[in-house]
Subunit: 307 residues, 2 copies
């Protein structure tokens, strides 16, 4: 493993719009991906937790990826989630991504069984890598124990990096514990540690982190890009601080109703003017009308500041 | 909903044998299903947690069901798990079961997102039922929060039964809390409450429960059948008590190594003489050699007693 992280930058954990029949609105989604790339994102980490990946069937996930690539989004800017509970499904989705020229994926561990051994998780990732058998593949491990129930420990990362140094290149750490992210940076030089929470990108970058994959970038990618590009430049300290403050404001609002994904989508709807963004797939539920109205009122000043 | 539970009896949460390449050994599995039905099981609840369902891909799960039916197991004796994280996958597997003449399924809630609202889970189950749109369908809800992270509350059950009285007919309660099972029996007359843990079947039956779906029935279906058939008969009290004691002994041994599914499979291997039962899919891991030897020594007296 080289000392320079393989994957750096601001990646958007893109939300996925669904129509009233709960089908993916591919046109709206492709527009959104384009908007994100034009507004400062280095790439789009689609089909993650914010993207409701696990609420879409295997064939739908393939169709979403194909649709976005057919819609003109460069495969090298895409970093989809492909980790499922079953190894064959993970292999299928990862091979499918590679077949489209997409070489970087974010991979959940198998997440049905709770309390699996490190040995068992190592075996699961190994099996996927050996079956995919493609030297182009780059995997970002996905640590989000509050959803998956299955943490990716430092011990597991170390073993995977030792065995597959050119394939297992990073981690998305969504657990929100900066100390853990720093420990990974310290332990694995050259490994890409990507913050899953917006407020933690700056302190993580300052400690040698590689960037972020976050939900708020659906809304204010440009501010995240400002932080990422200029955090080392003392002359830009004011701009970076202002950008980070803005990120935190939007982020706080996105968490105001406890239903973060529905709220993010409602905020995209408000910003883009496309009501098609309001839907979510069960088991998520859309924001009730009263909260939409309140959210709208709280968004107005933030959007004026942005304009 | 009628007062007589729709689904009663002893159902085996059947384990699924895999070969050294981790592929399903369909011949061995079909033999196992036949053995279970010949030894007292009323049905085979295949592709559940013990069956490693979520470690098999969608197409594998279809192939397993087709293979067992082609192998001569009557569809009306099968009750597969079909609940996935994504509604379309759950719909596909449920429709596929119905296409084979299998009308009863055990259905996990979507289990990726933690803390979903009752409204969201109701919407998810509703969406599946409406999309499957088959009056023959009978659903057993699957409450196993220690794995799924998503409990099925009494409130949710009540709503589903009210809306779909002929479709949502029962629950498999694997949380191990007898008080909860009794509360469901009391609240929903005619609803089939099936214990997911062997030691709880008898007290649940005595309170009006419908039976069980358990792992130990892979090993001692006949004892569970004895308890189920005779628990009301004072003349059989001794036989019932002896059977329950035997169930508890085997169950205790199956839990001795913390890796219950691998242990159950090793016990099936020992009982049947088929080493093909030793494999498990990652993230599960097989029992190490030393534990296999120890297990074997502990099994010997239990097997002698059974003979």
């Amino acid at each position: 493993m080289s000392a320079a992280p393989a994957i750096t930058g601001v990646y958007c954990a893109a939300a996925t719009p669904v129509d009233p029949d709960l089908a993916v609105d591919l046109g709206l989604f492709t527009d959104h991906c384009r908007h994100l790339l034009e507004n400062g994102c280095d790439g789009v980490a689609l089909l993650g937790t914010t993207g409701e990946a696990n609420s879409f069937g295997i064939s739908e996930r393939r169709a979403i990826l194909e649709g976005v690539v057919a819609g003109g989004i460069a495969p090298e800017r895409l970093m989809p989630g492909t980790g499922c509970c079953a190894i064959p499904d993970t292999v299928e989705l990862t091979r499918h991504a590679l077949s489209l020229g997409i070489t970087r994926v974010v991979m959940l561990p198998p997440f049905y069984y709770k309390g699996p051994s490190e040995e068992g998780l190592f075996a699961a990732y190994s099996e996927v890598i050996e079956r995919v058998a493609d030297a182009r593949l780059r995997i970002v491990l996905y640590h989000i124990p509050q959803m998956s129930g299955v943490p990716i420990t430092l011990g597991l990362m170390r073993r995977l990096v030792e065995r597959y140094p050119s394939t297992v290149v990073g981690v998305k750490d969504s657990a929100g514990d900066l100390a853990n992210m720093k420990a990974i940076v310290d332990a694995l030089p050259g490994f890409s540690v990507l913050a899953g929470a917006d407020p933690l990108m700056l302190p993580l970058l300052q400690h040698g982190g590689a960037g972020c994959i976050t939900a708020t970038s659906n809304l204010i990618a440009d501010s995240l890009a400002t932080v990422f590009r200029h955090f080392r430049d003392p002359a830009q300290a004011g701009a970076v601080e202002a950008a980070q403050a803005r990120i935190n404001q939007w982020r706080t609002l996105s968490n105001a109703y406890g239903a973060q994904i529905a709220t993010i989508k409602a905020m995209i709807a408000a910003r883009s003017g496309a009501p098609g963004w309001l839907g979510v797939r069960p088991p998520l539920t859309p924001l009730p009308e009263a909260q939409l109205t309140e959210l709208s009122a709280q968004l107005a000043p933030l959007m004026r500041k942005a304009a």
